[in-house]
Symmetry: C2
Subunit: 388 residues, 2 copies
């Protein structure tokens, strides 16, 4: 069976490595150790659902000068061999006596002088995907080389999307929009929420998603109180507002936006919050510019909601998007990350209907020099009216 062309041409990956290496040079980092699926996909194009198995660690090391090396379980050799990375070292994982640590330490030692530093992301929104015991062994093995924090080097690079990446994100947002529109053509009344979740996932796949990594949602006559719970068996009822949130994937890139479906005309309070969310999103679509900070985006959305007399929820009101369901920054009052051109972001205002319930509304954008460009098809102002 002939293999498909890679998701991106080699030049895309070389440009990413160049930018990473500039960031590393500026921070005196000799090599960058990547262990998380998104970081490894970002530099190599290695795309697989096999990450779902926690059995094996995978490593890519990027030197400040020169080509990256992959140190991976042999089960991934064929797939990584399709990538642009030439230096691939494998071991028969899982190996309880040495699960790649000798190989990995050798690869890093080749890149980092004895008094040098190697880095891995250690900050907010990161973790190291390898056993802690093996991390400590590797650090001991590589001493006196020092392990330092590589979060900024990775995040300042990954957060700016290339046009090729933006095309991928636009594509999955379009697919997701098609699935929402299909669902809006169906009657939802009396269907259990769990059945609607299953149907929506099938619609996303039929519309062209490779897989569906995230679907969440909830329903109620006054909005909803919990938007991360699995779907239950209770049927949807007239007067409910149903929120569905999709994280669908195509070529490794995620959509992340939601839609509200109204089973018949909503209560006045619900209608009013829907209007406020839609209008606050309009404000942000008009006002966001590169140079503003994440906390400024929060302010724009929160003030927009307050102008309509509704109370914003306490959580973040948007975030980055790309090769994971959510990326930094977070639209909160505490996040001072500068918004830059070609960041892909979600606008996700939420506001209370009652003390216990709320509505949420989400769009995906790319921030251009002159403001946001929508990647998701703009939500209908009054939501989807279905099954009335």
């Amino acid at each position: 069976m002939p293999s498909d062309p890679p998701v991106f041409p080699e030049a895309e990956f070389r440009a990413r490595i160049d930018r990473l290496q500039c960031a590393m040079a500026a921070e005196d980092i000799d090599a960058l150790l990547l262990t998380m699926p998104a970081d490894i996909f970002y530099v190599s194009g290695f795309l697989t659902r096999f990450w779902e198995s926690p059995a094996r660690p995978w490593f890519v090391v990027v030197p400040v000068c020169g080509a990256p090396k992959a140190v991976i379980p042999s089960i991934g050799a064929a797939q990584m061999g399709q990538s642009w990375i030439a230096d691939i070292r494998t071991w028969p994982a899982p190996d309880p006596t040495d699960d790649g640590i000798t190989l990995l330490a050798e690869a890093i030692a080749e890149m980092v002088p004895a008094r040098g530093t190697f880095a891995t992301p250690m900050g907010l929104e990161t973790h190291i995907r390898m056993p802690l015991r093996d991390l400590h062994r590797m650090i001991d093995r590589l001493a006196p080389r020092r392990l330092v924090d590589g979060t900024a080097a990775v995040q300042r690079v990954r957060e700016i999307k290339s046009e090729a990446e933006i095309d991928k994100l636009r594509s999955i947002c379009t697919i997701t929009g098609m699935a929402f529109a299909e669902l809006a053509g169906q009657s939802l009344q009396d269907r259990p929420l769990a059945a609607v979740f299953a149907e929506f996932q099938a619609l996303l796949l039929r519309a062209g998603a490779d897989w569906v990594s995230y679907v969440a949602g909830a329903a109620g006559p006054d909005g909803y109180a919990d938007v991360i719970a699995p779907a239950g068996a209770a049927p949807l009822a007239p007067g409910d507002v149903l929120m569905l949130d999709a994280g669908a994937v195509k070529d490794g890139y995620f959509s992340d936006f939601d839609r509200n479906f109204f089973l018949g005309p909503p209560k006045d309070g619900v209608r009013h919050v829907q209007e406020a969310l839609w209008q606050a999103t309009e404000d942000a679509l008009r006002e966001l510019r590169p140079g503003m900070r994440a906390c400024d985006a929060h302010r724009v959305l929160a003030e927009g909601l307050r102008r309509w007399g509704v109370r914003p929820c306490a959580g973040r009101l948007g975030h980055g998007l790309g090769i994971t369901l959510t990326e930094w920054p977070s639209f909160t009052p505490l996040d001072t990350t500068v918004l830059r051109e070609n960041m892909v972001l979600t606008l996700e205002p939420s506001a209370h209907v009652t003390e216990a319930t709320f509505l949420v509304h989400e769009e995906n954008i790319v921030l251009r020099a002159d403001g946001p460009e929508l990647l998701s098809p703009r939500a209908p102002r009054h939501g989807f009216l279905v099954g009335a």
Copy 2:
């Protein structure tokens, strides 16, 4: 909207905590810090797809005596509030100034005396799902308390499934079997592999899976060389053998088995390997017993294959299964983990057809005192003959 009953009654979770606490007491561990989705689900029943977002860490701490505490982002308060855990502490994550570390250190300090130890899994098949920088801050905050390895305490408990867990696993295996049988009724010839993947995922959802965390597969006239790559656009052709592997989820429990579909009569070499895989699985179904080790299971399968004159692949030939797609142990020559009653395992023999290609065959079992009980419907001896 009324919430569904929890996946398990409180007694199930109390029994799990009791077993963990016995293991902790035996190892002089005062508290166990859990950060991975599966471990947190195991002790709390907290089930969500929200783990897909890497933005926030989540913590549950189990003391050697007394009730567990959850230290989680406030977005999870409603969902965790449905669980049996009473002590829930929340913070508005993500918080770049203190992402739960003060709260977490306080919770651990309440459980662990100043000269005591707290543990987290650090061994094979684990990682710590929190920023490394925050882990170091927490360790400093809690000194002179010592952080030790909690891998064995968690794995020796989780690997033995309760009858309630086995029922869940049987249920998702049945659902997965239904989807395979549905697909076997379709013509596959000339369909692109990517379209077959999408169709199969939709069939799994329609059969009752909550979501599909893993689908992989590959096809070719001599078997396949890479079973973890995403599906491509190439159409299936007469003479191909197509392997599909499913990791579907119901109530948080995974299936993990594959099936081979033959698009018309296979080549003799392919047919012979299929027979060998099926027969080696029969051997293991007859011979595995509690008290054998993982390496013994590898030997049974590998010898079974060699008796049929085929060469086993180098990787593992089976593994644990439960609340992640794969769990320990691994059927390799190096894994000496003892197989015990009520372990749920996959039998996954694979063997070469040519130097570059192979076939793989997989079933899911629970190991009983008198041998394996199948959870997956037994594969047809000659695979599924389709679209011929």
